[in-house]
């Protein structure tokens, strides 16, 4: 019982760490991009300051805003926070992972996106509706790809529980799995699309004709905007953690002992920092693609995850 | 073994020699001389095999038995007569300005290259080398199909290249599977498990599941080259657009050799499967090709194209007969291979002259051959009668035997066969009659034509129809026993 309690306590702490660490990751990426693009870089803590400033402002609501518009930021943030709570960050033992598996995780994302799209349409402005429709288009293409990539993983580990799956991969040691290669690429492409990064969307622009995600939150301000922005940062972090802990699980704590957890924290920081470098490079090298090519991009991601499953069945299963 | 090596190396030497000779008149003569020597050696080889039985070369690379040796002799013979025809014919084409001397060099070298590839495919003992030789046959002829560089001929050559290349790729996959099946049972370190002689001796041990998959791939692959429907699209184009000697050897030889490869494979598969799967597949594809080609004979505007559909028809019939299996059907198919090859090459030779005479290959512009140049007119008429299966020509004999065999094992299939033969006859004569008898357009003049090959071929076909010489029937019987395991009649 005491063990169980520690685990729950740890799960709560880990979720807090997740939420608290997310702006730091965003700040780090922003800084790296500025360096790569020869611009003066903001401080690492700039996202925290932005959030604090937004929380301090008064809420201004549009005339036609209904309760959906007001509730949406809380739902979005809540769903993403719950999603964060089931992803192992520094240690494998996670009681929440046993309750909500990876499919529920995708469900949380879907819930958040659904409310964000609803909120975008609620005000009735042209941009909100356009952004909502584009966001849903991207989502309808990205979600199958993500699920397929996840299935590749679950087929290998024979479970949909993320904690158990990571432990399985860790136990197997260094194994070159072709299916994981495809799943990794696919998941990375989906992550790029879902978190609104280049080349699908540009997180730094409000250019009317090209924006996806930003168009749905144009009408928000103050603490509502802060919550949505924050949720976006957490979402980015969730994807980054998923990718690094599933495909490179080494360093994650197997048990809740102090040295293991300390190592786990160091490991995840190193992995995320490295991943951020890759993302920054990717965003610097690529240009945003036309909206009409997004289906092609995600179609390719879907194909990759399909190949992941196929190669798992064909190549990795003993006949 | 000496005649075998000579039969193979002579054409290969011919490729190098003819590639070096810039004078196309001289090259034409050399081409004939090499083909004649090759034929002489092939007769020697055939005589050898007839006397002493199957031969395996010491390095086991080549294997000669009754089945392939008669095809070697046939190939060398048609190669020779076509070379005799091609010399003045191509001379005339050069004078008309359709081909330059540079391309004539390519033509002569590749003619010998093609013969080499054919003979190699026939004599090799290695299933892999068989594939390589079949592919080489495509490669040597593809530039000849586009020899005239007209848009049509380039299109035909491209189709030929792509379709045959893709088709035959399937055969390589089948060969790999064959090798796989053999290695599984016979051990992987022997290094001789792709040799036909080894495979055939151990056919019963090979895994039936793998071999049936392999056969499907090999059927598709070599079937493309045989011109089986629905993989036949390249054939009418390549035959109609290339120079006429090419049409003659493609139709008379290449198709035969592809069918030979298919039958060899069938022998292996039958030995392993103990079911009639391979036979049934071949019967199905053969019958389909036969019927489709027969119907297409009726909507032709190009004379060479029409006769290439007739080739598909006859190849279909042969494939069908080999598919039935059994001694009688196999004997009939072997005979049909011979008579078709002789008749069809003589027809293409005649048609080539007719086209030069009329200045076009369009059927509606070729008229009154018998008035302008009786030899060509009579040649075309006799050839068409022979190919349509009129008695007393040899084609009648072989078709009669095929029908006989069908009646015995698949009685209700004789109906579509008879119907098809009747429709083919109607289709051919519908177009040939006005070409031969119609009134010639004004100003049509004779061309220099060498009808000797035609006469020799048709005389042979007639002879085969009246009586099969003893040594030949003995030969066919040996081959039949090899393929079907029993004696005919």
């Amino acid at each position: 019982m005491a063990d169980n309690l520690t685990e729950w306590l740890f799960a709560a702490l880990q979720t807090l760490l997740f939420i608290g660490g997310a702006p730091l990751l965003s700040g780090w990426i922003k800084r790296l991009k500025c360096h790569l693009q020869n611009r003066a870089a903001p401080s690492l803590l700039q996202p925290y300051r932005d959030l604090a400033k937004l929380f301090g402002k008064d809420v201004v609501l549009a005339q036609d805003a209904s309760w959906i518009f007001r509730a949406a930021p809380y739902v979005v943030f809540g769903a993403i926070m719950l999603a964060a709570s089931v992803v192992p960050l520094v240690a494998i033992p996670l009681p929440t992972a046993a309750i909500a598996d990876v499919i529920v995780l995708v469900g949380f994302f879907a819930l958040a996106r659904f409310f964000q799209a609803l909120a975008g349409m609620d005000i009735g402005t042209a941009f909100g509706g356009m952004g909502a429709s584009r966001e849903m288009t991207v989502a309808s293409l990205a979600e199958p790809a993500m699920l397929m990539a996840v299935f590749t993983l679950t087929m290998t580990a024979s479970t949909t529980n993320i904690s158990v799956a990571i432990r399985h991969i860790l136990d197997a040691g260094l194994v070159l799995r072709p299916s994981f290669l495809f799943a990794l690429l696919s998941l990375a492409m989906v992550a790029v699309a879902e978190t609104g990064r280049i080349p699908i969307d540009n997180p730094a622009t409000h250019l009317e004709l090209t924006m996806l995600h930003e168009a749905t939150v144009l009408e928000y301000g103050a603490r509502h905007l802060a919550l949505i922005d924050w949720a976006g940062m957490i979402k980015l972090m969730i994807y980054a953690v998923l990718i690094s802990n599933i495909f490179l699980p080494w360093g994650i704590a197997r048990h809740l002992t102090f040295p293991a957890i300390a190592l786990g924290i160091v490991a995840i920081i190193a992995k995320l920092a490295l991943l951020a470098v890759l993302l920054a490079l990717w965003e610097t090298v690529l240009a945003k693609m036309r909206l009409f090519r997004v289906p092609q991009f995600l179609g390719f991601a879907f194909l990759l995850s399909l190949l992941g499953i196929l190669t798992h069945v064909i190549l990795e299963t003993a006949v | 073994m000496i005649p075998l090596y000579l039969v193979l190396w002579l054409p290969l030497a011919g490729v190098l020699l003819l590639a070096l000779i810039p004078n196309h008149r001289l090259a034409g003569h050399i081409n004939v001389a090499i083909a004649a020597a090759t034929f002489a050696f092939s007769v020697w080889l055939a005589w050898d095999v007839l006397r002493t039985g199957p031969e395996l070369s010491p390095d086991r690379l080549f294997y000669i038995d009754a089945f392939n040796v008669y095809l070697v002799a046939l190939t060398a013979f048609v190669g020779l007569t076509t070379a005799i025809f091609s010399r003045p014919y191509m001379q005339h084409e050069v004078e008309r300005g359709r081909v330059g001397p540079q391309r004539m060099r390519l033509y002569h070298a590749m003619y010998q290259g093609f013969l080499f590839a054919m003979l190699l495919a026939l004599t090799t003992n290695n299933m892999g080398v068989l594939w390589v030789a079949m592919e080489a046959a495509t490669l040597t002829t593809v530039l000849l199909v586009s020899l005239y560089r007209t848009p049509e001929s380039v299109e035909a050559a491209w189709k030929y290249f792509i379709l045959c290349g893709v088709g035959i790729a399937q055969a390589l996959f089948g060969t790999v599977l064959l090798y796989f099946a053999a290695e599984r049972r016979l051990g992987s370190d022997r290094g001789d498990t792709l040799l036909w002689s080894v495979l055939h001796n151990h056919a019963a041990q090979l895994d039936p599941a793998v071999l049936s998959i392999a056969f499907v791939f090999l059927l598709v692959g070599y079937g493309t080259k045989v011109g089986l429907v629905p993989l036949h699209n390249w054939l009418p184009d390549a035959h109609s657009e290339g120079p006429t000697p090419m049409s003659a050897v493609l139709s008379g030889l290449l198709l035969n050799v592809a069918l030979y490869a298919l039958v060899r494979v069938k022998m292996l598969v039958d030995g392993s499967l103990h079911t009639a799967l391979a036979g049934h597949l071949m019967m199905g594809f053969g019958l389909l090709s036969f019927l489709v080609a027969v119907l297409f004979l009726h909507r032709q505007h190009d004379v060479k194209r029409m006769f290439s559909y007739s080739s598909i028809e006859h190849m279909g019939l042969m494939t069908f007969a080999f598919g039935i299996g059994g001694a009688l059907a196999t004997f009939a198919a072997l005979l049909h291979m011979t008579v078709h090859s002789l008749t069809k090459s003589s027809i293409f030779v005649t048609v080539g002259h007719a086209a030069q005479l009329a200045g076009t290959q369009r059927i509606e512009h070729i008229r009154g051959l018998i008035h302008t140049q009786p030899a060509v007119g009579w040649g075309l008429l006799a050839g068409t009668l022979a190919i349509a299966g009129f008695p007393p020509f040899g084609v009648f004999m072989s078709e009669f035997l095929v029908l006989n065999a069908t009646m015995k094992s698949w009685p209700w299939l004789t109906l579509p066969l008879l119907l098809g033969l009747a429709i083919a006859f109607a289709g051919l004569f519908r177009y040939v009659q006005p070409m031969v008898y119609g009134s010639p357009p004004p100003g049509q003049v004779r061309v220099r034509a060498n009808m000797l090959p035609v006469a020799v071929h048709l005389a042979l076909v007639l002879w085969l129809g009246l009586s099969i010489p003893l040594f030949l029937s003995h030969w066919f019987e040996q081959a039949t026993r090899l393929i079907s395991g029993s004696l005919p009649l």
Binding site: V319 | I162, A209, I213
Partner: protein, 225 residues
């Protein structure tokens, strides 16, 4: 034999085999001529890596020669020839309009599944490390055919053709650790000659229809003009 029981080199074979398959899909999706040639070259290079790994694992030293041959021919020489031809014909930046690109890719995935079922009885019989890759090699062949069917330019069709050859070579390596040397040399020679002939044809086609769009080669049919 489970994946985790294999040595790292054997796992490497599987990974590079999967990457060969991946390059086939990249070629299907790639509409530009120049990247298409690069993807083809990568396929050749990965194929030779696979072959070298198979040679390492199985101890069949003649496969090293095959690997070198493949690298020289399929990864360097033929792509280089195609690249030079594309430059000389000034088509290297051409973009082909592929109709139904996603449908083509899905059809490719269906083909892979089909190959799996066809190759299953073969793989069941085999005891080689590479037996699972037989289906992949077959898929490479069929994807090459799909590429030829869906494309209209001569260059893309040639690349499809060559990729079929890649798949066949791969099949030989995967199912029997390569064909006898004489056959392999013969096939390589055929491929080389075919590549040269294709080059000749590009010019012939160009001079006859003023384009390399082979869909416009449609004069020959049963219809009279």
């Amino acid at each position: 034999m489970h994946l985790t029981d294999l040595s790292l080199y054997s796992q490497g074979i599987l990974v590079s085999a999967a990457l060969v398959l991946f390059t086939s899909f990249v070629m299907l999706a790639q509409a530009r001529i120049q990247p298409l040639i690069y993807a083809f070259a990568w396929q050749g290079a990965l194929l030779s890596v696979t072959t070298a790994l198979v040679a390492l694992v199985s101890g069949h030293s003649h496969l090293y020669i095959s690997a070198l041959l493949t690298f020289g021919l399929k990864a360097l020489l033929i792509p280089w020839m195609l690249y030079r031809l594309a430059r000389r014909l000034n088509i290297q930046y051409d973009v082909e309009t592929v109709s139904h690109p996603s449908l083509t890719l899905l059809a490719g995935a269906v083909l892979v599944v089909f190959c799996y079922y066809v190759a299953l009885p073969v793989a069941l019989l085999s005891a080689l490390v590479t037996r699972n890759t037989i289906a992949v090699s077959m898929a490479t062949v069929l994807l090459g055919m799909l590429l030829m069917i869906t494309r209209r330019t001569a260059v893309a069709q040639v690349i499809g053709f060559m990729s079929i050859e890649n798949g066949l070579f791969f099949a030989a390596v995967a199912s029997t650790y390569g064909m006898p040397m004489i056959v392999e040399l013969g096939v390589a020679f055929d491929v080389l000659v075919a590549a040269v002939l294709f080059g000749v044809f590009f010019f012939q086609i160009r001079s006859s229809i003023d384009s390399l769009d082979v869909d416009r080669l449609n004069r020959l049919s049963e219809k009279g003009e």
